[in-house]
Amino acid sequence: MVSGALEVKSMQELRVERLKVSRIELWKDSIRKWWFRFSKSPLSVVGFAISATCVALAILAPIVAPYPEHAGWYINLDEALQPPSLKHPFGTDHYGRDVLSRVIFGMRYSFILVAVVLPLVIPTGVILGVLAGYFRGSLIDYVIMRLSDIFVSVPPLVMALAIASVMKPSMINSMIAVSITWWPWYARLAYSAVSSQKNEYYVIYAEITGMSKLRIMFREILPNCLGPILTKATLDVGWVILVGAALSFVGLGAQPPTPDLGTMVAEGSHLLPASWWVTIFPAMTISIIILGFNLLGDGIKDIFTEERY
């Protein structure tokens, strides 16, 4: 069955065979597979469309917005509190600024918040969670997980409010507040995922191979835990925006001239119900972004929960 002398191909031949399937082809194939799983549920596709549109609008805000100068200090009392019309599809606020333009710029600030908070929070939480999960039952585990328990025991919004109110209200401080509230959730998620993977045979195998503990944690175990983490990250885009908006709403976030969605809702709230458009449109935008990213998250969950075997 097994021949004694094994034929060994020349390196040239090996290289040629390896090149037959190029890396780009493999990537295309994976993307096709992911899209197949993702698009099984039409709602995920809707979610993808919504979130992609929002992100595109936010990035292209200065080009897309009809009156980019209305995003900052701009007063034109002649046009104050105009109801929605062709000229101002979302109406104008009490300073005569175009609400549509401000909403588009507002999305920009919301996504900046997300883009700062999540890259800060996810690595911190995940690294701590992986450490705690791998050294389950040891001192490291107790210190990290009890610390995260303390943070989790207070509702995130209340916690963020408390932290933000201690500091001077500003955009950066609200980012810090949200980040401090958010990491324990990732630590817990990574902790549970790692604990469930830890006793799999491949981990035991890596251990008897003689690999270092860091390598086992981050090369062997962590990739197998990425599914739930990525899913949560997508869902959290919406939630971080919501908490950021809540902070701005109570005046602890970005300060008035900045077209932050939460601040805009707060500014418009005393004009209700007569000039409803000043409040309703920013509020709806927040809802739509959250809805879009939740649906997108569901789709991403579908990609990962597909049976691997």
Binding site: L14, R15, R136, I204, E220
Partner: protein
């Protein structure tokens, strides 16, 4: 022949919610250099625990009550981490029961094989050579386990392979470090019957070619007796009988071994196999005396009190049962 591995009076248990269990009850056995040893017993009788304690990869709630595992004069259970690592890297390889979870689903076969090679003795030949050498080495390993199209297998993820192919990759992984002893923990249970035969043949050929010692753990006596030189019969964490394969298969002494032989379906005579009723005793409060007493048709007074000691039947054959004195 030189003695390669000796397990002496090994007692292992687990911390459970009901208290401390005593799974292995002073188990002793030995493996000579170049010998194929089989350990047979039903599900839950401590076979996997035994194999895992040989490599000291017991789960965290395991308790070692006593005993020694001596590999080439070194006690594995008390050796330092470095010594243990050296043994794991250079001498002992293990094939796990479940090829589905033995490979990391997120890494390509090549990455896992390269890692295994990099952390093994084979790396000494690799020093100063290019990465192509690593690939060549891996391809040779995969060819040795008779995998068709090793190029494709190397570049695929575990989920793209069938169960038999995955088990062969696992064998190749074990080969990177099994230079003296190969532990096989029911390597064929999760495969379908036609693949079982192939996988066994591959293991047999490799073992004979490389002059390895093997411990093959299984619950299929027929398969085992065909493969190994010597068989140990295990019941509820105790070694109850041992002998050359043909002695156990054709002349079983212990009532449990007899039941095992009788429970295999035969092609001649009565078609129905005889089942053994009852189940393995509780490990938290194991019975006094012989652990087989609750299922034994020949039970005597002393079986309930005294643990039977091994009685010699022939030079190579012994049995621990009160029927044969002791």
């Amino acid at each position: 022949m030189e003695r390669l591995l000796a397990v002496e009076n090994l007692s292992v248990g687990y911390r459970t919610y009901r208290g401390r269990s005593k799974v292995l009850d002073s188990v002793s056995f030995e493996v000579l250099r170049g010998e194929k040893v089989g350990i047979i017993g039903e599900t839950g009788c401590g076979k996997t625990t035994l194999l895992r304690s040989v490599l000291r990869i017991l789960p965290p709630n395991a308790l070692i009550y006593g005993g020694k595992v001596i590999f080439k004069g070194i006690d594995i259970l008390s050796s330092s981490h470095d010594n243990l690592n050296k043994l794991r890297r250079e001498s002992i390889g293990i094939i796990f029961q479940d090829p589905m979870s033995a490979l990391n689903p997120f890494l390509r076969v090549r990455d896992q094989l390269y890692d295994a090679i990099k952390y093994s003795k084979l790396i000494e030949g690799y020093k100063g050579k290019s990465k192509d050498y690593l690939r060549e080495l891996s391809i040779n390993l995969l060819k040795e386990v008779a995998l068709p199209d090793p190029q494709r297998v190397l570049d695929s993820y575990p989920f793209q392979l069938s169960g038999g192919m995955r088990q062969r990759v696992c064998i190749a992984l074990a080969l990177t470090r099994a230079n003296e002893l190969l532990l096989a923990d029911e390597p064929t249970t999760n495969l379908d019957v036609t693949i079982q035969e192939q996988v066994l043949n591959i293991i047999r050929n490799l073992v004979e070619e490389r002059k390895l010692s093997v411990i093959l753990v299984s619950h299929a006596l027929g398969m085992l007796s065909e493969f190994v030189d010597r068989i140990y019969v295990m019941y509820a964490g105790q070694m109850i009988e041992s002998g050359r394969a043909e002695e156990i298969f054709f002349d079983p002494k212990h009532p449990y071994t007899r039941a095992l032989v009788a429970s295999a379906p035969k092609l001649i005579g009565k078609w129905e196999a005889e089942a053994l009723f009852g189940r393995v005793p509780d490990y938290v409060n194991p019975p006094e005396g012989c652990r087989f007493q609750s299922r034994c048709p020949f039970i005597k007074e002393e079986c309930r009190v005294i643990k039977p000691s091994p009685q010699k039947i022939s030079e190579t054959h012994w049995v621990a049962c009160h029927i044969y004195g002791g």
